[in-house]
Assembly symmetry: none
Homo-oligomer: 141 residues x 2
DNA sequence: CCTAACCTTTAAGCAAGGTTGAAGGTCAAG
DNA sequence: CTTGACCTTCAACCTTGCTTAAAGGTTAGG
């Protein structure tokens, strides 16, 4: 399979595939004329890379986890990295949930404006509440 | 409050605060000497911005959701923006949950290697699973 | 008055993750 | 044997989201 076909089948541009190669994420053999020759494994590798990116890994992290030879994946490290990612995702989830609950409370609060209060005074009151919308921080290790 | 104090209180560097201003994310008044003068609201605004970033919004998206002058939010718009934000957060929560579940399933799967299976065969099996882990795209838009 | 610690602007730099373009080699079809 | 669709490399450029540097104005304290 040439790079054009791999690009079509993976949905990535050829430039991106070459870029990943340059970054040491994938390896490839060449034909006599210099053209890259890919096996079906390359498609798997690209899927892994894009999946990992979607899960929030940087290319550097992916490279560390993924030796040139796909079958050489080190299970222990892979699992460790995956677990860490799950922890990160849980942290984000907690934070989002908290933010959302506070915003929802705020909306309810706005609806509750005391009868005699002016619109401006109410906005002030609401902004003071908003200040307390301050979630977990600590995403950036 | 000068920018230095705001920086200390928000935990952000002054350069970052000026950068957000340049990007149209926050507005600020000046004193006679040209120094920026912030009110407590600025701290709120910075909290909102960093929270939204952590939640996966780009600065451009945040700008669209957040008028420069916080107190210029009239109630209807404020509530509308807040509700939209709650919806956005819910969408992100759903995607994150899906990603996390798939990664967790993958971890469980790796641990489950059938007794007779070689390590390589297991890796193959795992990689086939990995291919199906692909949520989160669609955050951008 | 001097100095240190503030503040200002503008411009350049950096890292990640690519894309684009120029200049050219290769190959199958007509 | 020419045309067009492939492929190659390499260097330059782009966007995000900042940081850093240069050059200088302002202010509080001794």
């Amino acid at each position: 399979m040439q790079i054009g076909e791999l690009a079509t089948r993976s949905g990535l541009r050829a430039s991106r595939i070459r870029f990943y190669e340059a970054q040491g994420l994938i390896s490839v053999t060449r034909r006599a004329n210099g053209y890259r020759a890919y096996s079906a494994e390359a498609l798997v590798a690209l899927n892994i890379i894009t999946s990992a990116q979607d899960a929030g890994f940087t290319l550097g992290e992916i490279r560390r986890l993924m030796p040139g030879d796909l079958s050489g994946w080190r299970e222990g490290e892979l699992v460790g990295a995956l677990r860490k990612r799950v922890d990160d995702i849980r942290a984000i989830e907690r934070r989002l949930a908290q933010t959302r609950l506070q915003i929802e409370a705020l909306i309810a609060d706005i609806g509750d404006r005391p009868d005699g209060m002016t619109c401006e005074a109410n906005t002030d009151r609401v902004l003071k509440q908003f200040k307390s919308v301050r979630p977990i921080e600590a995403l950036d290790e």
